[in-house]
Symmetry: C2
Subunit: 250 residues, 2 copies
């Protein structure tokens, strides 16, 4: 039995303010919950009997069994899937060394929660374990972002920081950005370590950050002379760039 207050609490996690105050976030669906349970602190797990029949040993501060109707009332999804769980937001110490020893991503003002989630899933696929977000990037704990990561957020550390001072602390680290007048990525030298910056959906990389990019890249359209869209979606561009970096070092 789920109290009205619990339902209210779960619904409140749709807003960034409540997520911050509670230091918590919501995950829905058994695939995603299964990915988070082993590595994150679960404060509340709400599920139907069919979930518990396949998951008899869940660990959480509080576990509540509900009917599918109750789950529907608590869920933010149109079609809830057996379980939802509230996790504590993890704290990661900002790792200034990560871009010297591994390939990292930075997002400069990405606004769409789905794009951020898709980018996290891409980072996970390509073994990029640190993602640095500008303060004006959408909140990673937005339920739409969590949904789009499909559990990948359990393997990628997301940090929010002021990107300019962060990048300025990096020494001898290549800082890559994509620009319409950049060098064709396939003909550019790429390093197995460094920082790749992706910009905002409408405006790209901000001028202040553009100034500290050390290598300007471009994903060529095909054929060159054909009229085409102005740009690629930011998650799509991220995937092509990450794939090319990794292809070089397989």
């Amino acid at each position: 039995m789920l109290s009205k207050n619990k339902i209210k609490f779960i619904h409140s996690l749709d807003t960034k303010k409540a997520r911050k105050e509670e230091n918590a976030f919501l995950v829905e669906g058994f695939k995603s919950v299964d990915e988070f349970l082993p590595s994150f602190h679960c404060k509340l797990l709400v599920a139907t009997s069919s979930y518990f029949s396949t998951h008899p040993k869940c660990i959480a501060d509080e576990i509540i069994e509900v009917t599918p109707e109750e789950l529907s009332r608590a869920s933010l999804l149109k079609t809830p899937q057996e379980v939802l769980a509230v996790f504590e937001q993890p704290f990661y110490k900002l790792d200034f060394e990560a871009p010297s020893s591994s390939l990292c991503l930075a997002l400069d003002g990405v606004q769409d929660p789905g794009n951020l989630g898709t980018i996290i899933r891409i980072a996970d696929w390509f073994g990029i374990e640190d993602l640095f977000c500008s303060q004006n990037t959408v909140d990673v704990y937005n339920p739409k972002t969590i949904q789009a990561t499909m559990g990948a957020l359990s393997r990628v550390k997301v940090h929010y920081t002021d990107l300019i001072p962060f990048i300025q602390t990096l020494h001898n680290v290549p800082v890559y950005g994509t620009f319409l007048d950049g060098d064709v990525i396939y003909q550019s030298e790429l390093s197995p370590t460094g920082l790749i910056i992706m910009g905002n959906e409408g405006n790209g990389i901000s001028p202040e950050i553009e100034n500290i990019v050390t290598q300007r890249l471009y994903i060529p359209n095909y054929p060159k002379e054909r009229k085409t869209s102005e740009s690629l979606n930011v998650a799509v561009a991220t995937s092509i760039i990450c794939a090319e970096f990794r292809r070089r070092f397989i």
Copy 2:
């Protein structure tokens, strides 16, 4: 002044049934409308005075100037952008020869309208002009798809057909599909022409179509031994594959 009936008509285009009956679809926002106007038949254009001040010479069967408030009532978007337009659905003759002479895409049951729109934008970027969709693929004229194409649909022909008989008519044409047990794409021979099939979000390519794929490809994760997500988002996978095909023939 926009009549109640006109508003009702515009809203009805959110459903596939009405779009089919009216043989029409809705495009919102000046960037997208500008891309469609030169090449599609516009039945109705509804815009504010600020739109007409920058677009004095639009051609449409019917043109109505409205206040921003009226536009809001007609729009399906939370934040309408100056203009919406209803276009006639184009008819493209199914081109059985396209995969012999160019690189084409086929979608086997893609369900998410945003994914379809993003795939059309990718196709446009990489000069793929024909997209063949199985009958159970989401409707390309869904307003969310149109929105995600960002105008690219004006340069990509989308055909709905039964994929199996269509593919069976192709002779000496490579048919590519992605599978978790496929060959690493970077080490595979790729042709500048042929058909690339992308599968459903949850289930991938259906078994019947898998049987007629001639080359099984795989986008390797990195590093190989690291635990990762089960798969990439279908639009993301499409982009990496199309980029790799085009990289070979730049």
